[in-house]
């Protein structure tokens, strides 16, 4: 690939027929670090946190009123709703002439899959989930897609997707369906060009993360509320989920030297970090009721008092400051620098990233105090990232965005995107685990996955046929980089639509 093609595809999200290839690839990328728009119109129009959280609060209120087994079953939306459904069978993802493609995609991927997942729940829970899914999740998916399709800074949009996957929440846990997109919009986007520590803090205080990893319900045993509850014989206590994942996934990385004792201590530190306005009982008022639904709240009443020792350092700060101090140190740790540098290098260069590049990225991170643009600039300057050989296999999201951009799509309904992504095996904000989606070819380049892409290519092409000619489009998308084999296949295609499908399915399009 030429440098132009690398800038468009490896760094960016793929070319568009209505956009010229960058004359100076490096300058084009660098300029995006200044021109990124954290809150473009599409994102600003997404449902507000307050609205989503209010619906959740109302639902919690409703099931509290039920009592007994009904409430317990309705509570089923809180624990994990596993296993992740397999993508729809091959035959059912066939093109959907006639129906609006969006509609058909939604049936296959979005709503049908959702209906199967919630079939055993009580009516009220099903209603909650349907509304959250339709009004909030799908709207957010559409907003994310719109930004990806038309954003003036596609390199930074890619970084947003990268960080959102790094800090993955999964709508598999139905309680976060409506909030998942907001984590990306509110915590990742505003900080993607800032310091990592700020993004970390914004993420760990976001209701989506606090609910997804059970932090909102974690109570210090020796806190005021913990003591009261114990006296009444109620079982409340510590939940280590978020503490562990912060260490393992968000910052230091797995097997980087922390112990179980560190996890437990960190969990104690984090008690009191909860979500406001979701509960209305007396306990909830003590813990953090009454405020705006969905707002972050530090609830002193459930915070485990006392100094804590983590990774050999003592933290004796009061209240909320204690966890902030730990997060500050975690963000500044060389292990975190290495963990993040490895993931970035893997995303932009190779599944097995070259260690020299990881070293340089890591050093830039530490030198700059975790200033992300400083790290991105090392990436832009890295010869490894401009290797003409194409090493990365596009994930389904990457491929879909590139395909839609290539055919000139500017907007797509959320259900169309959700359906497509489910069929391709990478439903948006639904990785099924807090580790997020894999970023290596082995996870995506399978026989069946390949056929699904070809089928999706045919479908996308059939919608765009007549609007774009693959023969003139291809050199725009891959400036001076189209393989002779692909060029020949396009020239020999039996119809404009087939030519477009072949371009989208071509080896160069499957990779970046």
């Amino acid at each position: 690939m030429t440098a132009q093609s690398i800038a468009l595809n490896r760094f960016g999200l793929g070319g568009r027929p209505d956009e010229a290839a960058p004359a100076d690839p490096k300058a084009w990328l660098d300029a995006q670090l200044r021109s990124f728009e954290p809150r473009p119109a599409a994102i600003a129009a997404a449902p507000s946190r307050q609205e989503v959280a209010q619906q959740l609060a109302d639902y919690f209120e409703e099931i509290r009123g039920m009592g007994g087994p009904a409430a317990r079953r309705a509570q089923a939306i809180v624990p994990e709703a596993r296993p992740r459904p397999q993508p729809a069978a091959m035959t059912s993802m066939a093109p959907m002439p006639g129906q609006e493609p969006a509609q058909a995609m939604a049936q296959m991927g979005g709503e049908k899959a959702l209906n199967e997942r919630i079939a055993g729940l009580p009516q009220s829970a099903q209603q909650f989930i349907r509304k959250a899914g339709r009004d909030y999740y799908l709207t957010s998916v559409a907003a994310r897609t719109d930004a990806a399709l038309t954003a003036p800074a596609p390199f930074v949009e890619r970084l947003v997707h990268f960080w959102a996957n790094h800090f993955a929440v999964s709508a598999d846990k139905l309680v976060v369906i409506g909030l998942a997109g907001l984590l990306e919009f509110e915590a990742v986007r505003p900080n993607v060009l800032g310091r990592f520590e700020d993004m970390l803090l914004a993420v760990e205080q976001h209701p989506a993360m606090l609910l997804y990893l059970d932090q909102a319900q974690s109570v210090g045993p020796d806190s005021r509320l913990g003591g009261l509850a114990a006296m009444r014989g109620r079982k409340v206590g510590l939940n280590e989920n978020l503490a562990r994942e912060i260490l393992e996934l968000h910052t230091l990385g797995v097997r980087s030297g922390y112990s179980q004792a560190d996890v437990t201590e960190f969990a104690r530190v984090l008690t009191g970090w909860t979500v406001d306005g979701l509960g209305r009982g007396p306990g909830a008022r003590l813990a953090g009721g009454g405020g705006a639904p969905g707002a972050f709240r530090f609830a002193e009443a459930i915070h485990q008092p006392g100094a804590r020792n983590i990774l050999g350092k003592s933290y004796d700060q009061p209240g909320i400051e204690q966890a902030k101090a730990v997060l500050h140190d975690l963000a500044a740790s060389p292990a975190t620098a290495r963990h993040l540098a490895t993931k970035l290098a893997r995303h932009f260069v190779a599944d097995d990233p070259p260690s020299a590049l990881v070293d340089r990225l890591s050093a830039a991170y530490l030198r700059s105090g975790g200033d992300l643009p400083a790290v991105y600039r090392v990436l832009i300057d890295a010869p490894e990232a401009w290797n003409p050989a194409i090493a990365k296999f596009r994930t389904p999201w990457d491929w879909s965005v590139a395909a839609l951009r290539a055919v000139g799509t500017r907007q797509l309904q959320g259900q169309a995107v959700a359906g497509l992504m489910t069929q391709l095996g990478q439903p948006v904000w639904r990785p099924g685990s807090p580790a997020g989606y894999d970023d290596i070819a082995a996870s995506w380049a399978g026989p069946d996955a390949l056929v699904r892409r070809v089928e999706a290519a045919e479908r996308i092409a059939s919608r765009a046929a007549g609007m774009v000619d693959a023969r003139t489009l291809a050199p725009k998308i891959f400036p001076d980089s189209l393989s002779p084999a692909t060029a020949l296949a396009l020239a020999r295609a039996e119809s404009p639509s087939q030519g477009l499908a072949l371009l989208l399915a071509s080896p160069e399009f499957l990779r970046r």
Binding site: V451, E494, Q498
Partner: protein, 383 residues
């Protein structure tokens, strides 16, 4: 020697069609006529579809392909219908199929993209007109008859234009077409990562093309189109997509599957239309034909003239319409293709003029504004 210009008919009437002048059909009731265009994207091989077995050069050019022609339905002594077209042969026997040979649009190069654009726009060259001739046809029809639908996900070029049309296709259509899968396989052949993955996928996957699959997909498409067209409230004009005709290799099996699908499509269209079939005109046409000779990979390459069909209860069929140019080397177009001797645009204009009782010159000027005034070809539609 025989007269190169002839009708071959079940009635045995061999005469010069182009000179025959029966009276123009009178317009029927304003709202019961149906017109369906089945496009064959990819350049269907007319010489295999309607084999000129009586041409002395045919067997030599076609080698093993000629065996198929031998087992097909003989239409007189000169032509044979491909054996996969059994239902079409029945229509022919019932006088409801008029088969046309050595016919081509004005397009004379060999690009699918450009050729289909000419076939659909009705222009004299590619990308000269934006609208399709089927859309312009709607402007000539009474209001009740100007209702058109494309049986496809999107509105094809042929139906694009100022008049509103709809599109509809089944929710469960075959997944990626055989032809696309085959081409993708070629594209991945030298890719160390993709090639083994693709081989594995194809080995475990039952292929279902848009017309293959034992004709089931074709039958489903035909039945769907019939549902859309049948009855007083049905659509009056329809466009049906078929692809997979670009048989550069392994043509015998692939084309047989394609034709079987087309045959099933037409049969189920007829069955589904019921009484409306008697007022229906179906046009089957492709952007151009294929080489007269077989290539090195058991297929044929892009050519020029091909075959077309007019089917339906409204058609005065049971005949082959051709001004046969011959397959001797000197007779071939550019020494390789069947030479066009009939103009597809003229056939369409004449058939529609008679079907709708419209003036030929007016319909030709509207549908094919860049073409010459067509010669009348009378007697295509039942009076």
């Amino acid at each position: 020697m025989f007269d190169r210009r002839f009708f071959l008919g079940s009635a045995g009437a061999a005469g010069s069609l182009l000179l025959a002048c029966p009276s123009v059909a009178l317009a029927k009731a304003a709202t019961d006529r149906r017109f369906v265009f089945i496009i064959q994207r990819g350049a269907a091989d007319g010489l295999a579809t309607l084999a000129p077995v009586g041409d002395a050069a045919f067997a030599g050019l076609r080698g093993a392909f000629a065996e198929d022609a031998q087992s097909g339905t003989k239409l007189g002594s000169f032509f044979a219908l491909h054996p996969a077209l059994a239902e079409t042969a029945k229509l022919y026997g019932a006088g409801e199929a008029l088969l046309v040979h050595a016919i081509a649009s004005p397009y004379r190069d060999r690009s699918h993209f450009d050729g289909q654009n000419v076939l659909e726009t009705g222009a004299a060259g590619a990308y000269r007109l934006k609208d399709g001739w089927m859309n312009r046809l709607l402007g000539l029809l009474p209001q009740g008859e100007a209702k058109a639908i494309a049986v496809s996900a999107t509105v094809p070029v042929a139906l694009r234009g100022p008049h509103d049309v709809s599109s509809y296709a089944p929710s469960v259509l075959p997944s990626a077409s055989d032809d696309l899968l085959a081409r993708v396989g070629d594209l991945y052949a030298r890719d160390a990562q993709l090639s083994p993955l693709w081989s594995e996928a194809m080995a475990t996957r039952k292929l279902t093309g848009d017309l293959s699959g034992g004709g089931q997909n074709g039958a489903a498409t035909g039945a769907l189109a019939a549902r859309l067209l049948a009855g007083d409230n049905g659509e009056r004009v329809a466009f049906i997509e078929t692809g997979g005709w670009d048989t550069h290799s392994g043509q015998r099996g692939r084309l047989a599957a394609q034709l079987k699908g087309l045959d099933a499509l037409v049969a189920s269209l007829k069955a589904g239309l019921g009484a409306d079939w008697s007022n229906t005109l179906v046009l089957v046409a492709t952007e151009f034909g294929r080489t007269a000779a077989i290539n090195g990979t058991g297929g044929t390459d892009h050519g020029t003239a091909s075959a077309a069909m007019l089917l339906g209860g409204a058609v005065k069929g049971g005949r082959v319409l051709a001004d046969w140019p011959g397959l001797a080397p000197a007779a071939l177009y550019e020494n390789r293709d069947l030479r066009p001797t009939l103009d597809l645009d003229a056939l369409i204009a004449n058939a529609l003029a008679q079907h709708y009782g419209l003036d030929l010159a007016r319909i030709a000027a509207t549908l094919f504004p860049e073409g010459q005034r067509p010669r009348p070809i009378d007697g295509l539609i039942r009076a």
